[in-house]
Symmetry: C2
Subunit: 355 residues, 2 copies
C-alpha cells in the first residue's frame, strides 16, 4: 500500500529528473495521481514510465512554452509546445476559466500536446469557480467506426463537471467506446475473454479477444454495433476528434501519434502537431444565478439517486463511483500491481529516487 | 407522393390558422418539413396534429415574445414564451450566431419551449457562417438510467454540424438512446419485435417489446446495459438534460412535460417552465483560419469515407445518410403513411385548408 502523497512526491521527483521545473513537476504529479485516486488506474502512475519513454524518444519537452497562438474573447488555440498533457491541460483550463470570467464562457482547442491523464480532472477545475467544466482529447487510433476494418479513432473521452450546492458535483467522464482500454488491460492480466460487443477481430467480426489490437482487430464505439447505435458512439468520438484535432491544428483520426506504450511506438505520418485536446468552461451565472442553479442540481441529483431501482441495485449519479473510490484510497492508501511497482523501481534506480 | 413545397405550404397555413404570424408559420413549416426531407419522419409533418393539440390544450402560444432574459457576451437564457420550438429554435440560433460573431462563440439555454423538430436543422444554421453549430433538447421521460426502473430522461438528442470545403458538412444528429423513439414506432406499425438491447420491461428485464412504454417499461440509454456502457449513454442524456433544463430554468429529468401525443398527455408537476433546449455556435476562425480548417475537414471526411470496410459495406460520415435521403425526396417527393395523411386531412377539414 502507498499513500497518494508518496506517489505524488515520487512522480514529481521523476519529472524533475528529466528537466521539469519544480512547479510543473508538482502539477504533473497531482494530475497523474488523481487518476489513481479516482480508480482509473490505467491512466495514473502506471503510465509514468511511458512519459519518461516519450522524453527519451525526444517527443516530450520538459520546459515547454505553453501559449495562446490565436484567440477571440471566448475561444482560442493553445500550442502545448510538446509539453506533457498533464501540465498543458491544467494551464489551458486556467485560460478557459479566465475567458469565462470575462465573457461568460471559454473554449480552447490545444495542439502539440500528448496524454493528459483523466479528462475528469481538468473538467473539475471549473467547479470551484461556479462554472461547468468540459475536457476532451483525441488519442491514437484503436477504434473502428461502424462498418470499418481500419482503426480510425482513439477512445476519445469526454468529461463534463457540473457544480451542485449540498450534493457533490455531477462529473461524467467516459470514453466514447463500449469499453475503455483499461478494461481490456484488466482482462488481459487475468487471461479472461472480453464480453461480446467490446471489440472486433481483423475481419470485422465481433470477438471475445481481450487483446484485439495485437491481433489486427479494433475496439468498438459506444453502441457496439449498428443495430445498437454504434454510429452514435462513432459520431461522438468523431466530434471529440474534430474539436481536439482539426480545430487546433493537431493530428486527427488515424494520424494521432501513439502514446509511448510498448507496441504503439511506431512513428505516424502527421497531418498536424502532436495530440489535440479541447477544453471549455461556462459560468453558471452567465445563464442564471449560481445559487438557484445549484439548488436545482441538488434536486436533480437527489431525484436520480433515489429513482426506483432494480432489485439489489442503486441508480448512481455520474461521478459517484469515482468519488467513493477516492475517499477510500485517501483513507486506506493505494495498491499497485506488481509490474507497476517494478516499473517504478526501475525508474527510481535510474534517477536515484526511492519510492 | 407529395412535394416538400406542398407539405410546407399546408403546414404554414395550419399554423397561421391557429394564430401564428405569416413569418413564424413559414419558419415553423420549414423547420418541421426538414425532418421529413432528412428521413426523420417521426419528427416531421406526422407531428403537426400534435402541435395543434398542444395549442388546443393552451400549452402553445401562437404569438410568443421570444426574448433574452439574461446574458453575458457569450452566454444567455432565452424565454421561449411557450412558443413552438420550431420557431424558438431558429430564433435562438440567430442569437448564438450573433454572439459568436462578436466574441467567438455563443451559448444559449432555452426555457419555456416545446418540441423543436430535429436537432440537426438548428445546428446546421451555423454552417453558412463558417461556424460549428450545436443543438440539443430535453424531452418527456421515456428512458431508464442504468439500474433504474423509472423513466427519468427523454431520448435527449445532440446535433453537431461542422463545415467542410468541397465535401458536404459533417452533421452528427442522434438520440442518446440505443434507438430513437421513431424506430419503435416503425416496428409497432409492422407488428415486429424490437432487437434486444433497445428497451426494458416493467421489471427492468431486457425485452423485445416494441411498445415498452405502454407496458410499463422504458427505453435504454445508448450502450444498452452496464456491461456495454449504458452508464455512458445515461451520462450523455443527463448532460443534455442539465444544459437544456437546469441551466435555463425549464423542467428537467422526470418533470419534462409530455409532447401532445396520445397517451402522453398527463400533466406533469413542474420544477421549471416548459421544455428546455441548448444551442451553441463557435466561429471557426476563432480557432484557426476557416479555409485551412475546412481543407482539413475535407481530408478528415475523405479519409474516413475511404476507410477499408467490411465486405459489402461502406464507412459513412455522419450526415451522409440524411443528405442522400434529402436529395432523393427533393427529387422524387415524399411518401406519407396513411394515418399521417388522414390526420392531415382532418386538420385540413377543421381549418378549411386542402392538402
Amino acid at each position: 500500500m502507498f499513500t497518494a502523497e508518496q506517489l505524488k512526491t515520487f512522480t514529481q521527483h521523476i519529472f524533475q529528473s528529466i528537466g521539469f521545473s519544480e512547479a510543473d513537476a508538482q502539477l504533473a504529479a497531482k494530475t497523474l495521481i488523481s487518476a489513481d485516486l479516482r480508480g482509473v488506474d490505467s491512466h495514473g502512475i502506471a503510465r509514468l514510465a511511458g512519459y519518461v519513454r516519450l522524453f527519451d524518444h525526444g517527443r516530450l519537452n520538459p520546459k515547454p512554452n505553453i501559449r495562446i497562438v490565436h484567440e477571440t474573447p471566448s475561444t482560442g488555440v493553445v500550442d502545448g509546445d510538446a509539453g506533457v498533457g498533464l501540465v498543458v491541460g491544467p494551464k489551458t483550463m486556467e485560460i478557459v476559466i479566465e475567458k469565462a470570467k470575462n465573457v461568460g464562457s471559454g473554449w480552447i482547442s490545444v495542439q502539440n500536446s500528448n496524454h493528459f491523464g483523466i479528462a475528469g480532472y481538468h473538467a473539475m477545475m471549473a467547479l470551484e469557480h461556479d462554472m461547468i467544466g468540459m475536457a476532451m482529447t483525441n488519442a491514437a487510433p484503436l477504434v473502428a467506426p461502424t462498418f470499418s476494418l481500419e482503426k480510425m479513432l482513439g477512445t476519445n473521452p469526454i468529461a463534463v463537471a457540473v457544480p451542485a450546492h449540498e450534493e457533490p458535483a455531477f462529473v461524467a467522464d467516459f470514453a466514447s467506446t463500449a469499453a475503455a482500454y483499461g478494461k481490456f488491460e484488466i482482462l488481459q492480466r487475468k487471461n479472461l475473454p472480453a464480453p461480446l460487443g467490446w471489440a472486433q477481430d481483423a475481419n470485422g467480426e465481433i470477438t471475445t479477444d481481450a487483446n484485439p489490437i495485437k491481433n489486427g482487430g479494433a475496439l468498438l464505439p459506444l453502441g457496439s454495433d449498428r443495430e445498437h447505435g454504434s454510429h452514435k458512439g462513432y459520431g461522438l468520438g468523431s466530434i471529440v476528434d474534430i474539436f481536439s484535432g482539426v480545430l487546433s491544428g493537431a493530428n486527427y483520426g488515424p494520424w494521432v501519434p501513439p502514446f509511448a506504450t510498448a507496441g504503439f511506438m511506431a512513428a505516424a505520418e502527421g497531418v498536424g502537431r502532436g495530440t489535440g485536446h479541447f477544453f471549455g468552461a461556462m459560468r453558471i451565472d452567465g445563464f442564471r444565478p449560481a445559487d438557484e442553479f445549484k439548488g436545482h442540481m441538488d434536486n436533480w441529483i437527489r431525484r436520480f439517486r433515489s429513482a426506483q431501482a432494480v432489485e439489489g441495485k442503486q441508480v448512481l449519479v455520474p461521478g459517484d463511483p469515482e468519488r467513493e473510490i477516492e475517499a477510500e484510497r485517501l483513507r486506506d492508501g493505494l495498491d499497485l500491481l506488481d509490474p507497476v511497482v517494478q516499473s517504478l523501481e526501475e525508474l527510481g534506480k535510474r534517477f536515484g529516487i526511492t519510492l
